[in-house]
Amino acid sequence: MNRRLSKSHIYGWLLLMPAAIFLIAFTYYPTVATLAKSFFSQGTAIKPSEFVGLENFESLLEDDIFWKIAWNNVVYAVGTIPISIALAILMAVWVNGRLPLKSIVRMSYFTPTILPMIAVANIWLFFYTPDIGLIDQVSRNFGFASHNWLGDPDTVLGCIIAITIWKEAGFFMIFYLAALQTLPPELEEAAYLEGASRWYYFRRVMFPLLMPTTLFVLINAVINSFKLVDQLFILTKGGPDNASSLLLYYIYEVAFSFLDQAYASTLTVVLLAVLALIAIGQFVFLDKRVHYR
């Protein structure tokens, strides 16, 4: 028994080893190194990197661009998450029901998921172009003046949010569709026999039963709102005047355009802290509140 157990130890660790080496090299080590670097200054040719304590974090607190971008990220999250989840539920209910041309509709909803963000941003760029763009061509028919959607700080973030919702909703739909297919059909029949309206059935029966899925999708959506920045490279480069920049994009800029790795590491620590908060939130909420409130 004892020998068998120790053999199991060895095999267990040996099988895990290759993956563990990769995870240590490209996830754990860089996480720790990032944390360490945030306490050092950026070395230059004349002045080598040295320990500066919390100095990087102090400049972070005084960095107006950082605060602007942090706020943008909050707006981006609040703008994308509820609408894409609501649309995803709506899509799933439609596609799961008795809709004519169901399979074509389902395909249309899902297609954005498999297209690269970079490629679709090229197409959306045309939609947003002033005068000749599709939005301006259509709105002109209704008497609206042409508008520089991506050039105006007031509308640019909304444009970024729109393309993200379009990209995400169909992906989230899949999870709702899978969940809906596990609901017993008798439930719906019984509700209607009792005279419940469709909206009542949705609100009191379906939505609570979909809660675990909603939680799973919600976590993914929150992570995405810190991860999905590809479209910025094509559409706005974070501009005008950082009005559409997001945290991960700013990290990229600071590290690879401004070549300040120390500050980029400090910004990464903020992003890691946000992700840690999400992880803790997931842990706390996962067991409670999932079923039937």
Binding site: F22, F26, M91, L115, A119, Y192, I223, L248
Partner: protein, 275 residues
């Protein structure tokens, strides 16, 4: 019975119309891309039903950027990542599913951490690592951070756990070693999980952009997404029709595969999401 009035009432027709309208809106970018790519440039922003069709934009796009090379790079990249992921994740998943060792639950929790801290977040530090390893601007360098995937380990572990232990015992009685048992019993029985994970992985890495942008800087390593971003940049002075043609070229293989195996794709994403 109750289905009857739900299928004929006004609200049913309204809902159908709304669902179709949303589907049309969702397809609109792609519909526009096809319009613009298959018509001469003067029709890129002018919608005329009788506009002449043309393949000229595709020829121009193909000549203006090394798309053939980009295709090759992306193809090599997704292949290398997929093979490495299958091997690393299979071994680790088998360990978590069927072996007992001290520290197993902590190790598993650490693995799951990567679901939160994805390689995208660590671009700054991983770039430093790659330059130390002399792997900047190589396809290996693009692939390395993704090879041990927490998602793959988790997915395969769940599948392996559902396989009856008796099958493993039977293989052992017949004299199979640990790796032989894994190869002959577990891997074949987890086929549908491999297909699902493979499709998700290939579409993710076909579309991935930020890390490849950071780590590549030459035509010989750049994947399609990075090539496309350079090709479509306003500085390059290429017109709309050619950009949309290039865009369609880049997405074509994945899009065609998706249209052919739609059910498989949708089920894979479902399968991967439910766990």
């Amino acid at each position: 019975m109750s289905g009857m009035n739900r299928n004929t009432g006004l609200s049913f027709h309204l809902e159908t119309a709304a669902a179709w309208l949303l589907a049309f809106l969702w397809m609109l970018p792609l519909i526009y891309a096809f319009w613009s790519a298959f018509h001469p440039p003067e029709y890129a922003t002018k919608f005329d039903l009788f506009a002449p069709l043309s393949l000229e934009n595709f020829r121009v796009a193909w000549d203006q950027a090394p798309f053939a090379r980009y295709f090759l790079n992306t193809f090599m990249l997704v292949t290398v990542i997929l093979i490495a992921q299958f091997i690393l994740c299979t071994l680790a998943a088998y360990s978590f599913a069927r072996f007992d060792f001290p520290g197993k639950s902590i190790a598993f929790a650490l693995v799951l951490l990567q679901l939160m801290i994805m390689p995208e977040v660590l671009i700054v530090e991983n770039y430093v690592t790659m330059s130390k390893l002399n792997l900047v601007d190589t396809i290996t360098g693009v692939g390395l951070p993704y090879m041990a995937s927490a998602f793959g380990i988790f997915l395969l572990r769940q599948t392996f756990k559902t396989i009856p232990k008796e099958l493993e015992d039977a293989a052992r009685v017949e004299g199979c070693s640990t790796l032989q048992t894994l190869w002959k019993v577990y891997v074949p029985l987890a086929r549908s999980t491999y297909v699902a994970y493979g499709l998700v992985s290939v579409s993710y890495h076909w579309n991935n952009f930020l890390w490849p942008l950071v780590i590549t800087n030459s035509v010989n390593t750049r994947p399609l997404t990075v090539g496309l971003a350079i090709f479509g940049a306003p500085e390059s002075g290429v017109d709309w029709s050619v950009i949309t043609a290039g865009t369609l070229l880049a997405v074509a293989p994945l899009l065609v595969a998706f249209l052919l195996f739609q059910r498989q794709f949708v089920q894979s994403f479902m399968h991967a999401g439910i766990k």
